[in-house]
Symmetry: C3
Subunit: 359 residues, 3 copies
């Protein structure tokens, strides 16, 4: 008989304060079961304030305690008995929520499902969990505590590191490496052929893609994200990189450690992205460019050349009501003509115009 | 022995007119088998005109009858014996085509394929069809007349409503709910973790995503679309919502009833989309914004702030021949400078300039 | 016992020169094993120069021979003993690399895996390879030398041509056709319903999608790309078309022969794309438009109307540092007003302004 889902973990608030630190005005005896939004929280739940717009919701919240900064606490002095003051409420929330998650879902190895197909030459640790209808190819090695979700396909000669979780329906092509403690969400495809063709008259000749994908430790890869194998060298994803859903990483791309990218980011072939970059959703990065460490790119921005200086880069067409868009776009289509007209007016002007500033 | 594909359904035109209404000038005895485009239709097929550009094709079409509006019929008086006049030809086409579809593919429950893995604690109605290599987790409930395609992975504690069709290779994570009469196309991923991380020095700490995805009735979800589970609350898709392929819906998003979105739309975390909105392909909606009911967003538009007034909003860079683009883009890069030059010219001007209108 | 991976193929440089042509200054006796980048190449590997930026790397490379053009060879006369001169180094690289690939991975048919489910009525050639957990529907025909990867789902009445490789986890819906020598990468979905709904008050009525997807010969389809079936007619992909990852092709689209598209391209319904077009990443093509043969579209460009004249078309918002973007975008939002101000200045001007040129 299948075991029912576990009951929520209950813990005294005081124990959490002791474990995670900070100054808590709440009732330390009260048992709590986890987090909720301030509006939804019951008296056995915790909350947090990570943006000014949520601050006033503390007053009406039933939460047992709310993580806030010292500065926010000063503005909420009238409800100080509900506050749990800490340096970084969002980070504290992350850590405490991880703790609850670990209690509730302690990972118990389940072995290999009877319907899984594991090649005889594969090395599978006894602490792994391999789900239904998984296929694992020859010479593949699964380190201890890995979890392979139902229907995932892991090719030949793959290595997957300690504690990594591959969700259902992921495909990992031959010879790729995934580090320790990674999470790969459903439908992601790691190691498909890079997109390389040589023109041959009107036809295209395929360039065999013989590199691999090599992914570091502590990487998260979102659902239906695709990371192509390199042409000759490997495509490389650094330690601690976090990729959202439906991202495309082309062949030979290098992504530096702890860089984070939102959904739909597209990185063309052979681009090199620095460390600790933050790339907004649907941003595109041109092939062969280099992006400096710590660069921030806004949503929807097309990075069409290398960025050598860290900074915040943006380029998206501003939205407007459609009629207004139409009028402005009509002017944009002949913007150079408008500049010429201004130049002519300046030429007639009695005073000397200032020089144009460079782009 | 496998049954051959069914023969097409033949029905007298008169029976269709009686069932669906309208005024038909065609031969009511003629048997018809369904729809085709006006160019391709044979004399046992129907056609329709849903845009002025197709109207003249009626004259050369062999179709047994063509659905048209009264206004189009007046312009096609010379071929009135081919016309079937109705209020809304496209809607009438939809309904009649649905009827043909239902006749041709009457759904016969096929039970559970021998290779499917269904947890003992799952509740599966005897009228369901569960395909090859499906995996269904503990405590999951499948309502009557559901169909689960080959290789789909349905997690623990999922609920799927009456008559819903989950196509091949879909992944539904634990605890998600999908309503009645939904269609979820191949490769869609429902309930993967939302993308939430707290900065911890140069590293990122994962925020456990403990909410669910809750999908209403009559929802269609396209191939390889991803809908992430909420962080604390649920991600919610209202009744009658239609999502095309490769859409990304982030954690905590709410989509109102009967909203429709074309391919590649991306909705960032905690956005709230109104009812009956129409969102064009590759439009992006920023996190935490609210979009009013009945809003229309053009293709490729980035909605960077809340929309409180229904209307049609647009923002995409107009295409041009590349050389022209280059010239205009060069001016755009220093547009503020151009405005300054106009201001200087105005300052010298003998007449008082009008004030700039606000953006 | 599983066979170990094959040793790399070793071949004398002279044999390759004889087979593929060109003028080689290298040691023709030396045995080589394939290609590497110029930096990484060992003395038993080959290199190539396909862009000026790589030319100087030849001098420091250890490669046994480097494919170069005659023009590049003239500039590298000091290292002529390392050069292999040919008309088109990139194409020569493609052909030689294909040859090495074919030697190393000679395709040996493996039959049908015991866990695959193949309908009795399907026609499967004895030279096919069908992987673990594959499902193949009724009346489907697999031509000789096809390979179906683990977990792929092939519907009813599908035809797959000679030598085509369907990678793991692909879904092909009923009645679709895929030609000979195609490659379809993991997670691609061929033949899901086109996105068609008729408005019915505030609801949407589904238009049944009864067309198919018909794909020609020598087509490559990237990971997680989706190609929808037609509404009444078929969606058609011509011979030799190459589609990168995460592309969306909507219902009724026609793509001409040898057209190539980078990742994230989206083509809306009923668009017709010409032959030999090159479409950059994340470009979008509006529904019902026609694109001339040999058209080039830049990355991120939205093609909002038909293109009747081949050329290079572009439209993306230029990136800038965020502060600069903000200032320019503020002007862009009231660009029409700026033009009006220029017009007023011109009206006051003593000289007659030139007429505006049309957009």
């Amino acid at each position: 008989v299948t075991a029912p889902p576990p009951a929520p973990v209950r813990v005294a608030l005081g124990q959490l304060v002791e474990r995670f630190g900070g100054l808590c005005g709440g009732d330390l005896q009260r048992e709590v079961v986890g987090f909720a939004t301030l509006q939804a929280a019951g008296s056995d739940q915790l909350g947090f304030v990570n943006a000014a717009r949520y601050r006033d919701d503390v007053r009406s919240s039933l939460a047992a305690a709310v993580l806030v900064t010292r500065a926010d606490a000063d503005r909420l002095a009238d409800v100080s008995s509900r506050l749990w003051i800490c340096d970084d409420p969002y980070l504290q929330f992350a850590r405490i929520a991880q703790w609850f998650e670990a209690q509730a879902h302690a990972r118990v190895p389940c072995g290999t499902h009877a319907t899984a197909v594991v090649d005889d030459s594969a090395q599978v640790d006894s602490s792994t969990t391999i789900g239904a209808h998984v296929a694992i190819g020859a010479f593949t090695r699964l380190a201890p505590d890995t979890v392979i979700g139902a229907g995932a396909r892991i090719g030949r000669g793959v290595h997957i590191g300690v504690g990594t979780v591959i969700h259902a329906g992921v495909t990992v092509y031959d010879d790729c490496e995934i580090g320790a403690r990674c999470v790969v969400h459903a439908g992601a495809v790691i190691g498909a052929d890079g997109f390389g063709f040589a023109k041959d008259g009107e036809r295209w000749q395929k360039i065999p893609q013989t590199g691999r994908v090599v992914i570091g430790d502590d990487v998260e890869i979102g659902a239906n994200t695709t990371i192509d194998r390199g042409t000759l060298d490997d495509t490389r994803i650094g330690n601690g990189v976090k990729l959202d859903n439906q991202i495309q990483v082309a062949h030979n791309v290098q992504i530096g450690e702890h860089t984070i990218m939102a959904a739909f980011v597209g990185i063309a072939g052979s681009a090199t992205i620095g460390k600790r970059c933050m790339i907004g959703g649907a941003a595109r990065i041109m092939g062969h460019v280099t992006i400096a460490d710590d660069t921030v790119v806004s949503t929807q921005t097309f990075i069409s050349r290398s960025i050598t200086k860290a900074g915040h880069y943006t380029g998206y067409y501003p939205m407007a009501e459609h009629a207004s868009f139409e009028k402005n776009a009509a002017v944009l289509r002949r913007l150079e003509g408008l500049r010429e007209r201004v130049r002519r007016l300046e030429a007639e002007s009695p005073t000397t115009p200032e020089p144009e500033r460079p782009a």
